[in-house]
């Protein structure tokens, strides 16, 4: 076992991990932050997306030890300081951007990374950016709509629900 230290959602944390411990397992089992989901465990679905030093990564495809010293943000770090939903989260609720909710933490983290890079993405840019996030329920239209709305754009032209 090796000691690993990082900052998660603004708090300094540390723990003992094996070489093979994935970042997602450290977050979920080590820290009890179970908002980050494991859908496929094969780098395909994006349910496990978190931010490492501001960049979206699949936490099932990164070792915990590789995040030594890094700033990690998970879905638990996305709400406003008073606990209310952030604009992006609220937009997912308002536009029915989720059904079962399993993909949602990854969708929110990917969408937040997109908006940080590109504050007013087009519909095509959103769809392209979400290439690595799979949703089995919504058919994506309402997710795209929610992200457009969260970036202050008109959503009336997005494909039907």
């Amino acid at each position: 076992m090796t000691k690993v230290s990082m900052t998660v959602n603004g708090k300094a944390v540390s723990g003992e991990v094996e070489g093979r411990t994935l970042l997602v397992d450290f977050l979920r089992q080590g820290l009890g932050l179970t908002g980050t989901h494991v859908g496929c465990d094969t780098s395909q679905c994006g349910a496990c997306v978190v931010h490492v030093d501001g960049k979206a990564v699949k936490s099932c495809t990164m070792f915990a030890l590789e995040a030594e010293g890094a700033h990690v943000t998970t879905i638990e770090g996305m709400a406003n300081p008073d606990g209310s939903l952030s604009t992006l989260q609220q937009a997912f609720q308002d536009h029915h951007g989720l059904q079962c909710g399993f993909c949602t933490p990854g969708m929110i983290m990917s969408a937040a990374a997109l908006l940080a890079e590109n504050p007013r993405p087009s519909e095509a840019e959103i769809r392209e950016y979400l290439e690595g996030n799979l949703c089995r329920c919504t058919g994506y239209h309402n997710i795209v709509k929610a992200i457009m709305a969260a970036s202050g754009q008109d959503v009336s032209s997005i494909a039907a629900e």
Binding site: R20, L22, Y129, E131
Partner: protein, 261 residues
């Protein structure tokens, strides 16, 4: 996944020393290696992470060449090569998805030499030089068939030096499930001739289509290759496409690359 220890050296020398250990393996972005370890297709005793080595990162111009550190991510190449070598930046920006591009590196992709990977086509078509911890290897010597390269045990790629072509384009026909190249063609036009490299198609991995190179060096237009054909012999056949289909795509994509270059 079987367990292993992870070492995180800060310099190339330390990494090379660490890799001299029995059953040690380099770890780039892990976007290929971690799935491989999960499937227990590899069982190293030690992973030597290259992510903490600053000298392996970043892009720089060297005269008319673009040199890219092996630890540079696909996302960084997509962003930072956009001006110097747009076709290469576009290729990097089309690998996988944003999260894969934020971790995966050019060095890892080349060392892996997946027969459907994108970078090998760019490196071979550009006539780039792969620079390692011990030597410089010409692209024509580096790729030695599916998942096989000229790299020795414990040798790491440190950078790749690309001559920048006058015009170039990469056309990727995506395998819709994996988003790797079902077939991808990189065409690069230099003052002294045209190079065409094909990925995704051959059972021997990335290769140069020399008939097309000769025709395009005479006349750089899609029409110049209209009379040529690619033999399906030795092409990959799987549930995604027959050898004949892939052979056909090689020609179609080469034409598109010339038109787009």
């Amino acid at each position: 996944m079987y367990n292993f220890e992870i070492e995180r050296p800060g310099t190339i020398e330390e990494a090379v020393a660490a890799l001299a250990a029995e059953e040690a393996q380099a770890l780039g972005g892990g976007q290929t290696l971690i799935p491989t370890l999960k499937a227990r297709l590899a069982a190293p005793a030690k992973l030597v992470s290259l992510s903490g080595i600053a000298e392996l990162k970043g892009l720089r111009r060297e005269g008319d060449r673009l040199v890219i550190g092996s630890g540079t991510t696909h996302a960084e190449v997509a962003r930072e090569a956009a001006e110097a070598y747009p076709a290469l930046a576009a290729l990097a920006g089309g690998i996988g998805d944003p999260a894969v591009r934020n971790r995966g590196t050019i060095g890892g992709s080349l060392a892996n030499n997946d027969p459907s990977a994108c970078y090998p086509a760019a490196v071979l078509a550009s006539g780039a030089t792969v620079i390692t911890s011990t030597r410089e290897i010409a692209a024509d010597d580096f790729f030695q068939g599916m998942f096989t390269t000229a790299l020795d045990d414990g040798e790491i790629i440190t950078s790749v030096s690309f001559p920048v072509p006058q015009a170039a384009s990469y056309q990727k026909f995506e395998q819709p499930a994996s988003r790797f190249a079902l077939v991808g063609v990189f065409v690069a036009k230099f003052a002294d001739g045209v190079r065409v490299a094909v990925t995704g198609a051959s059972e021997d991995g990335v290769f140069r289509w020399s008939e097309a190179e000769a025709a395009l060096s005479e006349d750089f237009s899609a029409d110049a290759i209209s009379g040529l054909s690619v033999s399906p012999e030795g092409m990959i056949g799987d549930l995604h496409g027959t050898p004949e289909y892939r052979a056909h795509l090689v020609k179609v994509l080469t034409g598109r690359a010339v038109a787009a270059a």
